[in-house]
């Protein structure tokens, strides 16, 4: 091999190395490992009991966008606040009370029977579907919907329930779409409600 050829070879090796280095430097960094898993498989069929004491199958929600909030009627602060806010947002959305269903599912079936959730749901001045069930039914729904709830004994023999306080939004196909959290602004919440009712 002539000197010229050797030089050409060496320079092309340099060139190749430079390209390789550039490629390594410029390719997108591997995605950071997520610290939270997003449950895209949230939801599932259920049969609970409505405020009228009759079975309420989830099939009744087919074709209807809906917002589900898990709480309990002995919750004096966050639950009424959240449901009132949801009712207000539905009014603000401007598509009528039928735009999407608001469901209140009790995570306290021992104290919340059909009468309790029915009376509670009826206080909001706008359609709210109150649901409860047997402890086993509620456990199954909690698992499907990724809901955490835990009894906390209080002095005096009563108990409180720690629980997720987000509202879960589902589109008309029954697919989990988004959550509305308590510290989220109205604009963001309305945008999400607009999407499921589009």
């Amino acid at each position: 091999m002539s000197l010229r050829q050797v030089r050409l070879l060496l320079w092309s090796l340099v060139g190749a190395a430079a390209l390789a280095a550039a490629w390594i430097a410029l390719r997108p960094a591997p995605a950071p490992v997520a610290t939270e898993t997003v449950l895209t498989e949230l939801g599932g069929p259920f049969t609970l009991t409505g405020g009228d004491g009759k079975p309420f199958p989830s099939s009744r929600l087919a074709g209807r966008p809906h917002a589900i909030f898990f709480g309990f009627t002995h919750c004096p602060d966050v639950c009424p606040t959240t449901l009132s806010r949801l009712a207000r947002l539905r009014r603000q959305l401007g598509k009528g009370d039928g735009a999407f269903d608001i469901l209140f599912v009790s995570v306290d079936p021992e104290r919340d029977g059909p009468a309790e959730v029915g009376a509670y749901a009826g206080l909001f001045g706008t359609p709210v579907i109150g649901l409860t069930g047997t402890p086993a039914q509620i456990e199954a729904v909690k698992k499907d919907y990724g809901i955490f709830a835990r009894k906390v004994p209080q002095p005096g023999g009563d108990y409180s329930v720690d629980h997720n306080a987000g509202v879960l939004l589902f589109d008309r196909e029954g697919r989990f779409t988004a959550t509305i959290s308590a510290d989220e602004g109205d604009d963001a919440a309305l945008a999400k409600l607009g999407r499921i009712t589009a």
């Binding site: 009627t73 009712a87 009376a119 509670y120 206080l123 909001f124 906390v152 209080q154 306080a165």
Partner: protein, 140 residues
Amino acid sequence: MRSFLFLAALALAGCGDAAPDLSIHDAWARATPGTAAAVYLTVDNRGGGGDELVGVSLAGARDAAVHRTSMDGGVMRMRRVDRLAIEARSKVELAPGGLHVMATGLSRPLVAGQSVEARLRFARSGERAVLVRIEALGPR
């Protein structure tokens, strides 16, 4: 001599253990079917001394106590607060999502439009009565 003692006493009264000067206002609660109710209000302390809210009662409720709602990674918790400090020259607000009086064992539901009496017991200021107006749930 007397005027000196008088002035000295006046001077001493101005510092040290000053007294709280509380006013309670804007007390309201949401209508409830009768299981539990949350009462919200504001305590304004215009005095130079602090105080503590150590007891609450609501007419028609078997038990009432201050609780604090807190969010911990999306999970809502509610814990009892036995003594709520009201610092000198400050305001403490009990409002949705935070501090509130939780009343349980209601003998009757709270109906929007009505008023119910609450009694607040303070460590230094004694007992104060306040009228709680009941507001409707739902969109306003």
